[in-house]
Symmetry: C2
Subunit: 159 residues, 2 copies
Amino acid sequence: MEDLRDDRDSWSSENCSVARAMDIVGSRSTVLIMREALLGTRRFDDFVRRVGVGEPAMAARLKDMVAADLLERIPYREPGQRTRHEYQLTRKGRELLPVITALRNWGDTWAADDAGPSVVATHHDCGQPVRAVLRCAAGHEIEDGDIDIAAGPGLIRRG
Amino acid sequence: MEDLRDDRDSWSSENCSVARAMDIVGSRSTVLIMREALLGTRRFDDFVRRVGVGEPAMAARLKDMVAADLLERIPYREPGQRTRHEYQLTRKGRELLPVITALRNWGDTWAADDAGPSVVATHHDCGQPVRAVLRCAAGHEIEDGDIDIAAGPGLIRRG
DNA sequence: AAGCTGACTTGCCTTTGCGCAAGTCAGCAT
DNA sequence: ATGCTGACTTGCGCAAAGGCAAGTCAGCTT
């Protein structure tokens, strides 16, 4: 199997999924909002308090994220209250869980303070800690970056 | 097992590994430099060309990343050439592979153009595509975010 | 009708990231 | 000694992100 790393300059990164993903979820506050959303937060003022950004920034970020289809703005009504809106994760947003988990794992290992990490994700069924790991479609676990880079259908070659 | 999501306001996110990770690798260009570094790029002008940022920005980013211990600046000497420096991944940097892979997977699914993704990571041994998946320490694969959030040693409670 | 409150918006200012163009600097080749 | 080249640095200027303070607005409660 050809490994595209062997001739890195023969293809461009114009159509790069990493870059496209970063264009959508690349800012610190967007990631922290996703962290909170995945923990169950839905209301504006809860996001403001728990993420720790100001209201103007939060309003702008949430608007962007709804436009990007990470969150959906949904009206709801508590008894005796007026209609409000909450921000629910879409499937597109929920599928960022491996990204957030991988980031949390890395931060736990390389950037935690002396006390250790504040929270740990655990498997509901068995209580064991959860990690983002690399696995191939045949079910093999990937050891130490034992991967090749193969051409996808959207590859732009040059030269 | 207690699930901390049930009382989200009883603990703070001051010591959050996701936020700490984002403080280090939170910018678009840092992630794209990591993408290239994981593809094998090491030299300054290769980074500039392949990532697509200008020299001043690249110099600043690389300096930050060396200071953050993601990259190491190492002198080398090709025969007949003067001494130069290259940027090699540290272990800390290399362990961002699951983060980059998770981002790439997500981008492939949710942000690729019509043609599809440009590159696919494959398992060297079997050629099957590689994905970042969630797995617990007991070996169970996590279905659909079937996780709890448990207290870690560094948790800051309040109230 | 007046008040309250959650959810924003507006205005202003600072910081950070990045682009472009030009300048610098080290040290091998000639 | 001069030139060349890779690897930067310097000096602009712009745009986006975010903080703070204050204003707005809808609609349920009283």
